[in-house]
C-alpha cells in the first residue's frame, strides 16, 4: 500500500527546536517523531511512502535515505527549490503537495493514505483502509471525538447517521459547534480526487479540497475510531509527548534502552555511579552519558546521549537534547535544554549563544574551560537562590 507523510511545514510553533532540526525529526525520547510514523506504516504493510519535505529537507533525507532501514521504500517530494545551496520553501498546501507528487509520475494508482508528520498515533491503519474500500465515497476522513470544550482548536466535522460528511466548521466557538467530532488530518483518498486539485497553486485538503468535493456532490465519509492521537504541534505538545512517553502512557511505545530498575532506562557506555546520585523515575538516560556525584534527577526526565551533568546538578521534569553539558550545582525545573537554547514548555526561551550564557549550558564536545570572575559571581548568586 502507498502513503504520503505531509512534512513540508516550517514548524514555527515548535521554535526554537525547529531551528535545530526539521519538525518531523524533533526527538521524542531520542527517536525522531517521524520514525514512529514509519514504524506504524510498516506495521500495517505500507511499503511505498512519499514524504513531502521543505524546511531542512536535507537532514531528513540524509537520515532516512531510500527507506531500506525502515523496511519500506521512501521517496521525497520537495516543496520549494534550491537557490545558492539553500532550500527556499514554496508551500503548496497539503493538497497541492499531493498534486505535485501525482503530476511527476502518477504515483497514486490505488486508494492511498495521507498522514501528517507531527503526531504520535496508534491508529489501526489496516482497518481504516478496509473501511475506505467498503464505502462508495472518494475519501475517508479519520476523525476523533474530543471533549466539547476543546472543539475550538480543530476542524469540526458534521456527519449524517451513516457517516457521510455533510459539512465542516473551522475552529468554531464551543457554543456554535455542531458536533465534537474533529478532523485529525489523516485521510484516505481515491486517486480520482487528485484531478480536482489545481496545479501549482496553494491548495489545502481541509480548507479547499474537501469543500470542493462537497460542492461537486462527491461523497466522502468520516471514520471515528478509538485511537490515541498526540499532536506535536507546539513546544507545549512536544514537552507533553516526552513526559507521556516516559510515563508509559503512550500505547505500544516505551523508551529504548535497558531498564536497570523500574522506570529508569540507561543506555550503553555511561559513566554514572548510581550510589552517588539520586534518581526518581521515570528517567531515561541515553548512551555515553556522564553524570557526576551528588546529582539529583526527578522524573519524568530525559537525558539525551552524550550529555554531561556535572556534580550536584538538580534536574526536575526536564528534557535534555544530546551533548548538553550542565554546569555544576545548577538547578533546572520543567525545561527543555539544548546546548543552544533553554526553553520553557510555554515556548519562551533564551538563546545561549546570543546571551553568552555558555557557563550554564554548553555543547559537551566544546571545551569551555575559562569561566570569568563575573560568571563565577552569577553562579554563586544562583546557589544562594536555590537555598532560599
Amino acid at each position: 500500500m502507498k502513503a504520503v507523510i505531509l512534512s513540508g511545514g516550517q514548524g514555527t510553533r515548535v521554535r526554537p527546536l525547529t531551528y535545530i532540526v526539521p519538525k518531523p525529526m524533533i526527538p521524542i525520547v531520542e527517536r525522531p517523531l517521524i520514525s514512529y510514523i514509519f514504524k506504524l506504516l510498516k506495521k500495517h504493510n505500507f511499503s511505498q511512502v512519499i514524504v513531502t519535505v521543505s524546511y531542512k529537507a536535507d537532514m531528513l533525507e540524509d537520515h532516512y535515505q531510500n527507506g531500506e532501514e525502515q523496511g519500506m521504500q521512501i521517496a521525497y517530494s520537495l516543496e520549494g527549490s534550491v537557490k545558492n545551496g539553500k532550500i527556499v520553501s514554496k508551500g503548496l498546501g497539503s493538497a497541492g503537495g499531493l498534486k505535485k507528487v501525482q503530476k511527476f509520475a502518477d504515483f497514486f494508482t490505488e486508494p492511498f493514505l495521507v498522514i501528517c508528520g507531527d503526531a504520535l498515533i496508534d491508529l489501526d491503519l489496516t482497518k481504516a483502509m478496509e473501511f475506505h474500500k467498503s464505502h462508495d465515497g472518494v475519501a475517508t476522513v479519520i476523525c476523533k471525538e474530543v471533549p466539547k470544550e476543546d472543539v475550538y482548536k480543530y476542524g469540526v466535522v458534521v456527519t449524517s447517521e451513516n457517516g457521510l460528511i455533510e459539512s465542516f466548521q473551522e475552529k468554531p466557538k464551543v457554543e456554535d459547534a455542531k458536533s465534537n467530532i474533529i478532523n485529525t488530518g489523516i485521510y484516505i483518498f481515491d486517486p480520482i480526487v487528485l484531478d480536482y486539485i489545481p496545479d501549482n497553486k496553494e491548495f489545502d485538503i481541509g480548507g479547499d479540497l474537501l469543500p470542493l468535493l462537497s460542492e461537486l456532490n462527491l461523497p466522502y465519509y468520516a471514520k471515528v475510531p478509538d485511537f490515541q492521537w498526540i499532536d506535536v504541534g507546539s513546544i507545549a505538545d512536544f514537552y507533553k509527548a516526552n513526559m507521556l512517553l516516559l510515563e508509559k502512557k503512550i500505547k505500544d511505545i516505551k523508551p529504548y534502552g535497558k531498564e536497570i530498575q523500574p522506570n529508569v532506562w540507561v543506555g550503553i557506555n555511561c559513566k554514572i555511579d548510581f550510589d552517588s546520585i539520586e534518581i526518581e523515575g521515570p528517567v531515561y538516560i541515553g548512551n555515553s552519558v556522564k553524570i557526576e556525584d551528588g546529582v539529583k534527577i526527578i522524573g519524568p526526565t530525559m537525558i539525551g546521549s552524550g550529555c554531561l551533568i556535572e556534580e550536584n546538578v538538580i534536574l526536575n521534569q526536564s528534557i535534555l537534547f544530546s551533548y548538553t553539558k550542565i554546569h555544576r550545582g545548577l538547578k533546572f525545573s520543567n525545561k527543555i535544554i539544548t546546548s543552544k537554547y533553554i526553553v520553557n514548555p510555554d515556548g519562551s526561551f533564551i538563546d545561549v549563544d546570543e546571551t553568552n550564557m555558555h557557563f550554564l549550558v554548553e555543547d559537551r564536545r566544546k571545551c569551555y574551560c575559562k569561566i570569568t570572575p563575573e560568571e563565577i559571581e552569577i553562579l554563586e548568586i544562583l546557589q544562594s537562590i536555590y537555598s532560599l
Binding site: S348, T355, M357, L360, E374, E377, I378, I385, L388
Partner: protein
C-alpha cells in the same frame, strides 16, 4: 548608552538608556553604579526598561550591584524589564532574588 541619575532623599534613581546591555557597555554602567554606592548612596531604583536585549555581562552588572548593595544593607529595586531580559532572569530564577516595582510605581519614580 545614556545614564540619567537623579537623587531624592537618600535614594538614587538611575535610568540606563540603551537597547543592548552587553560587553560593549556593561563595564561603564557598572563603574558608574559602583561609584554611586561608594559615595554613600545605598538605596537605588534602576530603570532598565529601554533594554531590548541583555547578555551575561549585562546580567553580571545587575548581580554585582545587588551583591554590593546587599553587603551595605542597602536596597535595590528594579523597574519592569522588557521581554528578553525578563525571560533571561526568569529562566535562571534570578527574578526570585530581585525586587521589582510595578509599572505605576516606576512612572512615579521617573518623575524625579
Amino acid at each position: 548608552m545614556n545614564i540619567i541619575i537623579t537623587y531624592k532623599d537618600d535614594t538614587a534613581f538611575i535610568k540606563i538608556v540603551t537597547e543592548r546591555f552587553d560587553h560593549q557597555n556593561a563595564k561603564e554602567a557598572k563603574d558608574t553604579l559602583f561609584n554611586i554606592i561608594d559615595n554613600g548612596i545605598h538605596k537605588m531604583v534602576l530603570n532598565l526598561s529601554s533594554m531590548e536585549f541583555m547578555d551575561s555581562t549585562g546580567l553580571s552588572v545587575i548581580v554585582s550591584i545587588f551583591k554590593r548593595i546587599s553587603s551595605v544593607n542597602g536596597e535595590l529595586k528594579l523597574c519592569p524589564l522588557s521581554k528578553q531580559p525578563t525571560e533571561l532572569l526568569k529562566i535562571i530564577q534570578l527574578n526570585r532574588l530581585l525586587t521589582f516595582l510595578d509599572q505605576d510605581e516606576c512612572i512615579v519614580t521617573n518623575k524625579f
